[in-house]
Symmetry: C3
Subunit: 266 residues, 3 copies
Amino acid sequence: MKTPIITLLTDFGTKDHYAASMKGVILGINPRCRLVDISHQVTPHDIGEGAFLLANAYSCFPKGTIHLAVVDPGVGSPRKPVLIVTKNYCFLGPDNGLFSLALQREKVEQIIELTRPRFFRSVVSTTFHGRDLFAPVAGHLSLGVKPRSFGPRLDSCTTLDLGKPRVKWKKLMGQVIHIDTFGNLVSNISQEQFFRFTGNRPFLVHVGKWTIGSLSEGYWQGEGAEPLAIMGSGEFLEISIREKSAERVLRAKRGDPVSVEIVPGC
Amino acid sequence: MKTPIITLLTDFGTKDHYAASMKGVILGINPRCRLVDISHQVTPHDIGEGAFLLANAYSCFPKGTIHLAVVDPGVGSPRKPVLIVTKNYCFLGPDNGLFSLALQREKVEQIIELTRPRFFRSVVSTTFHGRDLFAPVAGHLSLGVKPRSFGPRLDSCTTLDLGKPRVKWKKLMGQVIHIDTFGNLVSNISQEQFFRFTGNRPFLVHVGKWTIGSLSEGYWQGEGAEPLAIMGSGEFLEISIREKSAERVLRAKRGDPVSVEIVPGC
Amino acid sequence: MKTPIITLLTDFGTKDHYAASMKGVILGINPRCRLVDISHQVTPHDIGEGAFLLANAYSCFPKGTIHLAVVDPGVGSPRKPVLIVTKNYCFLGPDNGLFSLALQREKVEQIIELTRPRFFRSVVSTTFHGRDLFAPVAGHLSLGVKPRSFGPRLDSCTTLDLGKPRVKWKKLMGQVIHIDTFGNLVSNISQEQFFRFTGNRPFLVHVGKWTIGSLSEGYWQGEGAEPLAIMGSGEFLEISIREKSAERVLRAKRGDPVSVEIVPGC
């Protein structure tokens, strides 16, 4: 029998006992589960950041992995707890858009509202559904309980508007959607959009007061504090500085505009 | 054969190699162990905080789990290394009060002083008993070695005075004992104490210069920067602000008084 | 069949999805692997710090453990990806000196350059070899693929000059090479060097403007803010202050000199 894998993504931090409590509950139901943390350091209540991190990691895991994600400012409110089954994965968490980005690349098969208390902890708090509702459902799901057993089907789930790049005044206008540990600025301009827009023509990438005229192949290519444009490992256009933090050097922040234009005359 | 679970709680941080060293030692003795971190980010030397986090997480784990906890400012001193066996769990660590809060809810069966060097690493440093003494004992314990094999029985273990709420001037006087990642202020007023004190009468909760006149059901209920009183997931009275940090907004810190009084005339 | 253990050490941080992506890839190849984090909080691009943490943890793990380490400012550049097989362990990562300190105590059997794309992910990014190259190789290695299958042998690997203590003006001159979570200052003066230099003679340890005349046995021995010299758990001379941060009290930083001299006249 295969060992089930459950990943966890939350904004609970790593200091508190919250993530561990969820793991204890899961292991109490299915001690054979493999538990892997994606991140517990999503900025508190930042659904968009959680969606970004999940979208970048989920597909590295083998088929059948259960992705349990709890960034849930509305815990205890009428927002629905859901299980989303796609061709390759299961996603479990609050229906608040946290799965939007991952689902853009997945074929959704069913969306189930989690309503059956027999799969929850005996007492469900109003403030910690991660431990009392989502963790036990993940445990039971990993034991092979059928998705439909957890509740009725829904027709759709919440989609987060994370802003897509647009073409305006002949520019491809995007923005910084994530700044990583190294200070790399990840934009929402995908590899596919970038190359469709630029074709084989010379281009300029603009970020703040900086202009970059070519794509670099790796972080190691720059000199000094020169910003580089790189097609990052998540297949989005990224601004980086060799062995430095582009965030700090360029004083950038999430939401800052990043744009691409064709060299005038080309 | 069941897979043994060992949890780890320390003040070692997650940057250094300390926690990993303990895990390596355990896996060298019993490669079948499941290792789960509760927290390695207890404030250095803060036994009370460690006790709080452990008490909030331990009972989520299945019966038989070994809870290994090392917040140990007296490492190498005459303080005793102990194994505490309760009806449902084993607790391993220094006898300095770290287990006090968890043990309030557990039925203690035996307390063993760890004195048998054959269960330790061959050389025991004076500064890292987590790796050299507690981790190997945890490994052997998980293999089924009987508690009594590790050393003689003790009659009692150290209890930490973490301060209990008192009734004074007709008020239930408690304090903030933990501030979590979200900035929620967790008090030491338990659900049971709260309801015993208030009965069905209208009440006021005081924290700093703020007064709150009712319990909210969830973090999502507040408006703006209004503080909420909530019965938290650990069954303690908690002060929170919707999608904000109560710590920051109220400029609160651990030890700040939280009190409850009955509305005068009721 | 034994459960293979893979440890991970990176400078990827714990907030981003990077470490989790590596784990997903490994589990997709070998779902039976045990994954243990050594640290993901190496200071970005700090190969020396990574080498120090790895050297202090690796030998706690059982024989056969695969140590996967990625602190890799030159990712995508001509620096070589390598597998280093020693008598007891396998080390996998960039050939940039990251394994220098660990290898000082290991008997190296083979060094292999990783060149066979059939063991990599189908598309290898230029910026994330941890996920696309090292993780899959670790997965295959844990399944029993022979080291020679991954590429040709190399004669040597890069050694990092991390500075060794020297005897000068009758002093043993070393420096602070690591400051841990507690603020303990770990020097590069090893236990063996220290005792060879001091013999049985009285000595003085100098750090900043402080002088310490004896070794303490544990952190618990000091009084007030008095700095202690301790032979630490990694067998290096360490400067500590009881329940305080020596880093903060002494305003110390990595690279600060630590020296030992024999008491004049002895």
